[in-house]
Amino acid sequence: MEVKMEMAEKKELSVIACRVRMGAIEGIFHAKSGHPGGSLSIADTLTYLYFKEMNVDPKDPKMEDRDRFVLSKGHCAPALYAVLAEKGFFPTEELKKLRKVGAMLQGHPDMKGTPGVDMSTGSLGQGISAAVGMALSAKMFGKNYRVFAALGDGELQEGQVWEAAMLAGHYNLDNLIAVVDNNGLQIDGKCTDICSPEPITDKFAAFGWHVITIDGHDFDDIERAFNEARQVTNKPTAIIQKSVKGKYVSFMENNVAWHGAAPNAEQYEIAVNDLKAKLAELEA
């Protein structure tokens, strides 16, 4: 269990995650709107899911027994789109058309229009219910696929999250893994100042979930969590990842102002340079 990921593999994932961050920022910059902060905080986990954990095929996005992913924090779509493009679900050129009239990539995920998107989300609290439905369907019909969902910590303020958590616990959905992106910030400020979702771990445990706490930017930690989740039986797993909103873009890190704002040309250049430097550091 404690065997660390091969160095080369970890480096490769880090490089992909860096490109994912660039893709997300590029999309938001061209769209002149969007949500960079939470896209950057979930980028590593999304990269791990699509490149290491999930059974998906970009050539057959609707493959019946594929693993499913639901971005319950749907506003972080730019990161999901960038991962899907990296994985080959659609050309990376689409990222530049994000949020534009007639574009395939909508402001929030649209399962009807975008290959690889398993559920339309964006209205907070709803994605996790759909993920519970997918996991229940697998149990009812004897399928082995697993269902992953990502939630924001602010999103936990939506009561529907706990309705879903209660049902998932009740039905012992060990094929469901929810990641909570605990970056501590929401639009109006710090989650703990607005309406604290803490203690998040205790809450999920109380609803009958297996809970793992990790650093959401450490691939060893991420791998440990998903490996552990594979071993869990009779319980859904919640991975509470401590993360940094705006991770790896200097002026966005831990700055609530970047929850839902696009960088201007000057800021975009700084962001790209930050990420290029990170990439160079990884590839050195």
Binding site: M111, G133, M140
Partner: protein
């Protein structure tokens, strides 16, 4: 004379689900702790492995329904109309409607005829709410025969459907052997050229009763049953407007946003004839026996007769 049988459309719903469970092995039924009342309990007993009680959490139930449907299943999700369309509106809109998932909402206990439970449970807004969701089919069956046919049609239809059922046992007036149901097709029950009464749900039978009284008074009313409120049968409405020159709509729903509004939407753009709307007049319900309440709120053959005579005075 054949004896008239009374039966609640929620019973027709429950029975048909059981039949469909045999025919479709990918059919799943959800409820939110009202399985005894919505009658999904019948399905639960027969197919417990394909039934999930989501507990008292309608919003989550609709999201779960969407998730299951996304895996290629036909999902029937049930609760009272108030909670299915009211509480869960936004989930129905965003998680079911927007991705056009194959979820059928079986909403029972619609309207004033819920009776004694009173205003909090008497949903007269559901049709208005559901009509605003693009791609949503809305069916409001009038009796047992129609309800059974509607549930079957909903299972066949690909995409979201909202079905509205009642708690109250109502007369079964359709003939099972000759009855034909098609989503989006109104049914002309009786011909007439003086005025057209367009009714839906349990008000169809009241409209038929009213037409008998009107006939005695020399008024020949055409009766149309609109079971599918969306997509509405424009053709049958426009034809009636042209041929009879005045319309009366009757529904157990708020006069804002329901059948009456839908009919007005059709005629104002094509044959602008007077339309007199009978329904709950933008009020909350109250407790009382269902049959008494229907009279109190003007949802009776007597009121239809009166309003129809008034409508005739508007005819040009």
């Amino acid at each position: 004379m054949a004896e008239i049988i009374n039966k609640a459309t929620r019973d027709s719903y429950g029975e048909t689900l059981v039949a469909l469970g045999e025919e479709y092995d990918n059919l799943v039924v959800l409820d939110a702790d009202l399985a005894k009342a919505t009658k999904t309990e019948m399905f639960m007993k027969k197919f417990p492995e394909r039934f999930i009680d989501c507990g008292i959490a309608e919003s989550n139930m609709m999201g779960v329904a969407a998730g299951i449907a996304s895996t290629g299943k036909i999902v029937f999700a049930s609760s009272f109309a108030m909670f299915a369309a009211g509480r869960a509106f936004e989930i129905v809109r965003n998680s079911i409607g927007y991705p056009h998932l194959n979820v059928k909402i079986g909403a029972t206990h619609a309207g004033i005829s819920v009776g004694e439970d009173g205003a909090t449970h008497q949903c007269c807004e559901d049709i208005a709410l559901m009509r605003t969701i693009p791609g949503m089919v809305i069916i409001n069956p009038a009796d047992d025969v129609e309800a059974k046919a509607a549930v079957r049609a909903a299972a066949k239809h690909v995409g979201p459907v909202y079905m509205r059922f009642g708690r109250l046992a109502v007369p079964v007036f359709n003939d099972e052997a000759s009855y034909k149901f098609e989503i989006g097709k109104g049914i002309q029950i009786k011909d007439g050229n003086d005025v057209t009464i367009i009714a839906t749900g349990l008000m169809v039978n009241e409209a038929i009763e009213a037409s008998k009284v009107l006939k005695e008074q020399g008024i020949n009313a055409r009766i149309i049953n609109i079971h599918t409120i969306k997509p509405i049968d424009k053709e049958i409405i426009i034809k009636a407007a042209k041929e009879t020159g005045v319309l009366v709509t009757v529904e157990e729903h708020n006069i804002i946003g329901g059948l009456g509004s839908a009919v007005c939407d059709v005629v104002t753009e094509s044959v602008p004839v007077p339309v007199v709307k009978i329904g709950v007049e933008d009020q909350y319900g109250m407790s009382g026996p269902a049959l008494e309440l229907l009279k109190v709120f003007g949802l009776s053959a007597e009121n239809i007769v009166e309003k129809t005579k008034y409508a005739l005075t508007l005819k040009k």
